[in-house]
Amino acid sequence: MDKTPNQKAWFLVLPVLILVAFSAVIPLMTVVNYSVQDTFGNNEFFWAGLEWFRELLEDDRMWDALGRQLMFSGIILAIEVPLGILVALNMPKKGVWVSICLVLMSLPLLIPWNVVGTIWQIFGRVDIGLLGHTLAALGIDYNYTQDPFAAWVTVIVMDVWHWTSLVALLAYAGLQSIPDAYYQAAKIDQASRWKVFRYIELPKMAGVLMIAVLLRFMDSFMIYTEPFVVTGGGPGSTTTFLSIDLVKMALGQFDLGPAAAFSLMYFLVILLISWVFYTVMVNLDKRGT
């Protein structure tokens, strides 16, 4: 649609600007402020310059957390995107089952995040959980509170359970937009199932899949509540992701300076990667229309 140039539109945007300035800009400036200062209590602050940032870059703790975070986001994207596409391709075509599947699939998305953690905490327990009990009965040694590998598997399966439906719903919406004529043309050309997927369905889904990847990357990169409830970041610090580490530092130990420096770096990393996704997305959008 053609848009009219109109500078007065700023007045319509003003309420959002004021609200977001209050709830985002002021807190962010507080963080910037802390990140360059040192305090010994009593509200006395001293200029520390880039001290905290230098310390942070030399600190293994942050790099380890970042490494775990990247690995986690990588693994869940590698599982959830293909699985979500598979589910979307197998959605029923018509009738009452479509609604039933849509509602049931959306269910995990609407559960409070700490309840998601509680569900899997219970589900995985050897004494009272179905999953833990079954695995133990099969003779598999599984204990997510002691064994780092089991903890990782639990956290990843939990995230797949929680968010694959999001990818599936978006991919399904993309598939819905393909006109039937495309399939008929493919049928006339005697295209194989794989070729239909590769040359018709995948390109048509590209736009929504980019959104799915962007959202899943962003949210998995900020994940806090679910692994915190299940593993508390343990055993040791093997499932301590960036947010868990940051909250420990800021609200647990009240190390304002280092926590603020950490926050800024964290935000910048997310912003940078998301900006790349966003640019790709917008360009795909332009080519599509």
């Binding site: 649609m1 053609d2 848009k3 009219t4 140039p5 109109n6 007065k8 539109a9 945007v13 959002v16 977001v20 209050f22 709830s23 985002a24 002021i26 807190p27 962010l28 589910v87 197998n90 075509k93 509602v103 049931l104 699939m105 959306s106 269910l107 995990p108 998305l109 609407l110 559960i111 409070p112 309840v115 509680t118 569900i119 589900f123 004494d127 009272i128 959980g129 179905l130 359970w161 694959t164 439906s165 719903l169 978006l170 919406a173 004529a181 049928k187 199932r193 736009g207 929504v208 959202l215 962003m218 990169f221 900020m222 509540t225 940051l246 909250v247 926050s263 964290y266 935000f267 966003y278």
Partner: protein
């Protein structure tokens, strides 16, 4: 164009797409879908199962369904103010947040969908960056900001804090729906002598009613599922149910039955409204861009 090609095709080819699937795929299709739904529903079933058992049964025997069906756990929650006040607190700040988010997002989304103005694209992306901001980064500054203005442990503090990610979301979703409304409608209304506020409320808002509904649903949902900020900003008076749940560990260990019942009760609101937005849920998650 596409419609024309469909019409020109011989009639017997038209349903072929469906037949191809029906012949080769109907069984694998049902199996894949069935397995996925079982994977999704088993953990939820297990929570429901546990919420209907006594703690004695949970800890001393392993049963696939409750042998002694009991509603005691639910009764505990619904009669103890320490429990049910959590639900009330959550609902209060969630509703406040939804109203605030929609009230500021509606005019802004209209501006973005209809006009170009200085810095509009940058502003739009900047709004999205707030959706990318990790709540963990904002927990401490929010705590200090709301303490210093005397709003700590109030519902409005949590509602405002959740605006951080809900306002951008609402703007994006609404903009997506508003783009679908032809501009001629606005112009006709202005020619007919409608003022902007009257046009907006009387004509425009009914046209995008489904968009408003979807945006409200998503604001409601994301405010409802969030824990970190709501827990940081409250201690007693506005404590949400999610935060109360994290402290069920008493002297006698965790009260599993009550914990499970509380969990089931938090799923109910989402499950009730999801039916109404099922066809729009993808559009909402895609920030209005499908």
């Amino acid at each position: 164009m596409t419609d024309a090609t469909t019409d020109q095709l011989p009639g017997k080819l038209a349903p072929s797409g469906k037949n191809r699937r029906a012949r080769t795929g109907v069984n694998t299709r049902a199996i894949v879908m069935g397995l996925y739904l079982i994977f999704l529903l088993l953990p939820i079933y297990w929570l429901l199962n546990m919420s209907l058992k006594t703690n004695f049964e949970i800890l001393n025997s392993f049963t696939l369904w409750p042998l002694n069906l009991t509603l005691e756990n639910y009764a505990t929650i619904l009669t103890d103010p320490a429990w049910y006040s959590g639900y009330i607190n959550s609902l209060i700040y969630v509703v406040m947040n939804t109203v605030i988010s929609l009230a500021v997002a509606l005019p802004a989304a209209y501006a973005f969908s209809r006009y170009t103005f200085l810095g509009d694209k940058h502003l739009f992306f900047w709004l999205l960056t707030n959706r990318m901001a990790p709540p963990a980064v904002f927990a401490l500054p929010f705590f200090q900001l709301y303490s210093s203005v005397g709003l700590f442990d109030t519902h409005i503090a949590v509602a405002l804090a959740h605006c951080l990610f809900n306002v951008p979301l609402a703007v994006w979703i609404l903009e997506g729906f508003m783009r679908g409304v032809p501009k001629e409608i606005d112009e006709t209304a202005y020619i007919d002598g409608y003022s902007f506020p009257r046009f907006f409320v009387k004509i425009f808002m009914p046209l995008i009613a489904s968009g408003i509904g979807v945006a409200a649903f998503f604001c409601f949902m994301f405010s409802w599922v969030e824990l970190l900020l709501s827990r940081t900003l409250t201690t007693v008076d506005a404590k949400p149910i999610a935060a109360i749940m994290t402290r069920t560990q008493g002297a006698a260990g965790i009260d599993w039955g009550v914990l499970a019942a509380a969990g089931v009760l938090t799923i109910v609101p989402g499950a009730l409204v999801i039916y109404f937005v099922r066809n729009y849920i993808a559009k909402g998650f895609a920030l209005g861009r499908v």
